[in-house]
């Protein structure tokens, strides 16, 4: 039919240029996922000879674009407006729309944060284009089609997805999936301040209050867990476990015997009669790995187990089996982590 011919018409992909990174930030403080996306955007852009472009929207941010260039952007477009002080979806979507209409980019990458996952679908729908959620791998074809891989069904299935007939191609990516490139203070790039009609920045949303988020309260919500087992001999010795957790921004959990001894709170028991956890990383310290304990943590993404007994059952499910004494290994590990952190801070200051 006529309609079909009209609407399925092939688009001219050569009219859509550039790999865009949306700059995620809180009151001007740039979220590190942005630098990771810039690293990936550079790779993709070089593959197809495009530029890496940043969209940076907020208030009082005009002087903050330089860092984006040092981490890989060729051009930074800044919208600096009072109406953009707090994140509200309609003015941010209006700015995004304005930017896309002017730039006509091929690819748009947005951090898979709670804000990114609210804004990206809003804008993708406005352009009636595709958005692939939570990509874990991205590559690009010569014809500028983005090959996107993402997990679905709670990670039990991977899907390879393309947006063949539409531009721009939107994708969200979570924090800590890709790697930022090293900061290069000599990298050159341009920064442009954009203006937009105030008419377009209206919102049905008023922000009444913003407060810092409380830290994760429950071990089920923690990204990283350090688990103390009976390999800990005295209550005071838990100090090294807490220090390790502190260094890693982790929460402490334990096996049942420590709870029975009154050393740890019942709320932090992992296992059949405790809680089920699935963190990104779990480090078990002096835990044998009883069936009841393993039932509560076997789906953790990465398991590092430290135990003196090479035959401990925990080693059957650990990704990294460390045959060693927690009283010796953990203090050494703490030294190394502190050193590592110091180096990292130096890079970022």
């Amino acid at each position: 039919t006529y309609v079909e011919d009209e609407e399925r018409e092939e688009i001219d992909k050569s009219l859509w240029n550039g790999v865009v990174v949306y700059v995620e930030h809180t009151y001007g403080k740039i979220h590190p996922v942005t630098f990771e996306l810039l690293g990936k955007a550079r790779e993709l852009a070089e593959e197809i000879n495009h530029e890496v472009i940043c969209l940076f929207a907020g208030y009082n941010i005009a002087d903050k674009g330089g860092e984006l260039i040092q981490f890989g952007a060729d051009r930074v477009y800044i919208y600096d407006e009072k109406e953009l002080e707090d994140y509200r979806v309609e003015p941010y979507a209006a700015v995004f729309e304005d930017f896309i209409k002017h730039q006509k980019p091929s690819v748009v990458l947005v951090g898979g944060t709670t804000v990114g996952r609210s804004l990206a679908p809003r804008v993708a729908a406005r352009f009636r284009t595709g958005l692939t959620a939570d990509c874990t791998s991205l590559s690009i074809d010569e014809n500028t089609d983005l090959a996107q891989i993402r997990p679905a069904f709670g990670g039990n299935i991977m899907a390879h997805i393309k947006t063949r007939d539409k531009r721009p191609q939107f994708a969200t990516v979570r924090y800590k999936i890709f790697s930022a490139m090293e900061k290069d203070e000599r990298r050159a790039g341009t920064i442009e301040i954009c203006s937009i009609s105030k008419e377009l920045l209206k919102s049905g949303i008023t922000v009444l209050e913003s407060k810092e988020k409380p830290k994760a309260k429950y071990i089920e919500d923690a990204e990283v867990l350090v688990v103390a087992g009976k390999g800990i001999q005295k209550e005071e010795d838990l100090a090294i476990i807490y220090e390790l957790a502190d260094q890693l921004g982790a929460m402490v959990a334990s096996t049942r015997p420590l709870i029975e001894a009154g050393w740890t709170d019942p709320k932090v028991q992992i296992g059949l009669s405790g809680r089920t956890v699935k963190p990104k990383l779990i480090i078990t310290c002096g835990v044998s790995g009883s069936v009841q304990f393993i039932a509560g943590m076997k789906n953790s993404e990465q398991i590092i187990a430290i135990n003196t007994d090479p035959n401990a059952p925990i080693f059957n499910i650990a990704n990294y089996s460390v045959v060693g004494d927690i009283y010796e290994v953990i203090p050494k590990l703490l030294e190394k982590l502190k050193l590592e952190k110091r180096e990292k801070i130096e890079v970022f200051v």
């Binding site: 995620e24 979806v89 899907a159 049905g204 009444l208 209050e209 890693l248 990294y320 590990l333 190394k336």
Partner: protein
């Protein structure tokens, strides 16, 4: 107040298998249920109904069997059920799903508030809500942790932001997607189940919509294409480390850096 809750039927288990020959998901014989996140959306609506006497419409897009979850929603407190079912809607991505749902919502009539779950347990994109809001041109907020106040023309809600919790006032009509901490969903009432067993469900197809151009729905209206699905490479990566405490500590520290934990 008229509330529309969007609910989806999903497989009971996320342990899906792929048919080695066709490369498709094996869906036969898999039980289905309400997307667990949508139970928080229904409960949120029912609590508002208890406070204000609102009417609750539930809508789903899916095959005929998806009517089951509408009946289930009745037992939880929903008043009217709408099923969008049409072969022309098959194979929809988020854009085409949001298109069908937004047209369905317009057809149902007045909706002061639309509530979605945070995400599904199958497609798992968490995008449908925001796209419906865009197509209806109303404000939306995702990741709602608490509904604090229901006013005549607005809601006050807590929103989960990357590093903050924002309390916002959002004008009606609007759409919110709710997180699992919002409430504790009630159990279905047996009494209501008996009473609503034969309750009618209204079915819509593309031809009932204001925009009945079939190019905007299902596979035709989708912007993304799933090229292939495959099982994840299993995380069966195992190594055993022995050595001096110092060597072991170095290996652990390197791994922690590699996993981007620091």
């Amino acid at each position: 107040m008229d509330i529309t809750v969007c609910i989806k039927q999903v497989p009971s288990t996320s342990e899906v298998e792929i048919d080695q020959e066709t490369g498709n998901l094996k869906r036969d014989g898999v039980d289905a249920k309400i997307n667990p996140y949508d139970l928080f959306a229904i409960e949120g609506a029912v609590q508002i109904k208890e406070q204000t006497g609102a009417t609750i419409n539930v809508v789903t897009m899916g095959p005929n069997q998806a009517a089951d979850i509408l009946h289930e929603a009745f037992t939880l407190g929903a008043d009217h059920g709408y099923l969008i079912t049409d072969r022309k809607c098959a194979g929809a991505d988020v854009l085409a799903t949001a298109k069908a749902l937004s047209e369905g919502i317009k057809k149902i009539g007045k909706a002061d508030l639309i509530i979605c779950g945070k995400q599904t347990t199958d497609g798992d994109t968490a995008q449908v809500g925001a796209e419906i809001a865009e197509l209806l041109d109303i404000p939306h907020a995702n990741n709602i942790l608490a509904i604090k106040e229901i006013k005549k023309e607005s809601l006050v809600v807590d929103v989960d932001m990357p590093t903050m919790i924002q309390t916002i006032e959002i004008k009606l009509p609007c759409l919110i997607s709710v997180d699992k901490d919002l409430n504790q969903p009630r159990l279905p009432s047996y009494k209501v189940k008996k009473a609503t067993k034969n309750k009618e469900i209204t079915a819509y197809g593309v031809c009932d919509f204001e925009d009945s151009n079939e190019m905007h729905y299902g596979m035709n209206g989708s912007a993304t294409q799933v090229i292939r699905i495959f099982p994840p490479t299993s995380n069966s990566n195992t190594e055993s480390w022995e050595g001096t405490s110092d060597e072991l500590a170095t290996k652990i520290a390197d791994k922690i850096v590699e996993l981007k934990i620091l």
